[in-house]
Amino acid sequence: MSTATPVTLQDSSRTRRVRGGSASRPPVGAAPLERSRRRMFWAFTTPAVLIYVVLFLVPVGYAAWTSLYKWDGIGPKKWRGLKNYQTLWQDPIFRHSLTNTLKILFVGGILTFAFAFALMLILREMNRKLFARSVLFFPCLVNAMVFGIAAGVLFSPTGPVNKTLEALGWSHPPQWLATEHLQTMILGTLVWTATGYYTAILMAAVDQIPEYLYEAAELDGANAFQRFRHVTLPMCWDVISVCAVLWTVSSVKIFELILMYGGSSGSQPPSDSWNTAMYVYIEAFPTASTPQLGLATAAALVSLFLVVVFTVVLRRLLRRDPIEY
């Protein structure tokens, strides 16, 4: 392999350490690269680590701390312990938001991956697949507000979709944007925009599977489904498990799509369509009432907890022995 030289260079210092030699003082002339790297390590990492700690990790810690207080952001903080979490649990709006979040996570996830897999399999056999993949991928680069607003016009009671349906003879087309349908519409839009992205990831993974495996499988008489089951699936399992984690994180933080869906009715969307991210936003930055920062950060931590639990569980469930090829 092309990395033969560096491997021996690194190995020599490692063997020395193992044999009891001093790693901090290598023999003269040995691995000057290693020495200068050690010196540069902290200089190179400190700025990024500092920014990460101050602007990312400290805020996360601060959120955890705030979640134990009752606070409007201006007056004094009042200790509440875990009572904020108890309040959340009893708040029907939060429970509904949490249900919505879980619905997006599970139903949305299953649909997205089912479509992404189907698309990946079809695209592989298609002409001009790169063009099709690019078009299907594009929606994930667009601010979700755009689709929320567009849906508001397309699906409005007298909008293009209903007019078309009426022209086709459907006299009473559904009220797409009525509160009871909003969740489903949001979910559908989400699945549609996300599918292209996961299709592209899966295709990238599948394209790396060496062709001879398929040829061998074909020679052994495996049909298309068996080739998928015994070659494609195991070979891109790692990527699937990363995708599942990725979906968990991104589905929990969906915000602008819900905020703007249907062109937003007034200052905030109806609470039936909220997810936990929306709940955090509305509790922390309400238009009419006092901010409830403790409750909001507690809700945010519930969503973080959700991500952590799912990530751990998914990692467990999807773990397989890595395959070398």
């Binding site: 200068s36 540069m40 990024a48 690019s134 594009f138 680069l141 945010a300």
Partner: protein, 289 residues
């Protein structure tokens, strides 16, 4: 390899079964629907409200560029577009500039400290934004950076760290070490090796990291809504959401609303048609492998 793949694919494609042909047809319908939707949004931005209501799918008979002048003047989109460019470009440049040396150090030095550090950065990938939104809002107010572009840039810089470091670490790890050895033999120190040898070689990865961060900063809405509110400080997503909400009160002007949507959308179309494959690669290979 590629030639073998294509011949194999071609050979497989010849006896396309009926279900496969139907499936392919469905995929093309979806592709066409995607293009039609984007096209419809672009066209609608040039029409006036009543026209859209009566003939939703018609072509703009008299292209109304007034929709655009309306959002730029009444909606404050001119200033907002400028802010969006400023915030997205600066935060992405800074994110890459800060993350690159760190990612390089993490990719090259493998021990317990660097392992723990990489792990800590990777953990950040799993934290949803709403967790940090209240603390950052309060923190920025404390240091008088609320409702300001520097504040928003700093916030985006912090949020960018996990992914940018993660992506670039993978990228640097793929650069052969032989290059540095040659540089060291020529007498270059680590800093000089990094700036003169590694960075030029890594240009592709740095551009990809910049692009992905630019795209996410351009579209970011939650922090922008929370952290900016003055007319001259907001970014495009905030301006758009304000415009839509005001339009709800004053009666919808669909044409102008879609002009606003297009101001947010158009740069992504331009960027994607120019650098599409690089963007897809960055977002897929960076995650997938």
């Amino acid at each position: 390899m590629t030639s073998r793949t294509t011949t194999a694919a071609r050979r497989k494609r010849k006896p396309a079964s009926l279900p496969m042909r139907i499936a392919t047809g469905v995929v093309w319908v979806v592709v066409a629907a995607d293009i039609a939707l984007i096209g419809w949004i672009l066209l609608t931005s040039l029409r006036d409200g009543t026209d859209i209501l009566n003939h939703p799918f018609g072509a703009p008979t008299h292209p109304k560029f007034a929709n655009y002048s309306k959002v730029f003047s009444d909606g404050g989109f001119g200033r907002a577009a400028l802010n969006s460019v400023l915030v997205a470009v600066l935060s992405s440049v800074l994110a890459v500039a800060v993350a690159a040396p760190c990612a390089y150090a993490l990719a090259r030095r493998r021990n317990r400290v660097s392992g723990a550090m990489s792990m800590t950065f990777a953990m950040g990938l799993g934290v949803p934004g709403q967790v940090m939104v209240v603390p950052l809002f309060i923190g920025m107010a404390k240091v008088n950076l609320d409702d300001s572009q520097p504040g928003l840039i700093l916030v985006y810089l912090g949020l960018a760290m996990p992914f940018t470091v993660y992506l670039l670490t993978g990228f640097f790890a793929g650069i052969p070490q032989v290059l540095e050895e040659a540089a060291v033999l020529d007498g270059a120190g680590a800093l000089r090796t990094f700036t003169r040898v590694i960075l030029p070689v890594a240009r592709g990865g740095l551009v990809t990291a910049f692009l992905l961060q630019f795209i996410s900063a351009w579209n970011e809405t939650l922090f922008a809504i929370v952290l900016t509110h003055s007319q001259d400080k907001v970014t495009l997503p905030v301006a758009l959401s304000n415009f839509v909400q005001e339009a709800q009160l004053n009666g919808l002007d669909w044409g102008a609303m879609f002009a606003g949507v297009c101001v947010v959308l158009a740069p992504m179309i331009a960027l994607f048609s120019w650098l599409g494959s690089r963007i897809i690669q960055g977002m897929t290979v960076g995650i997938g492998k």
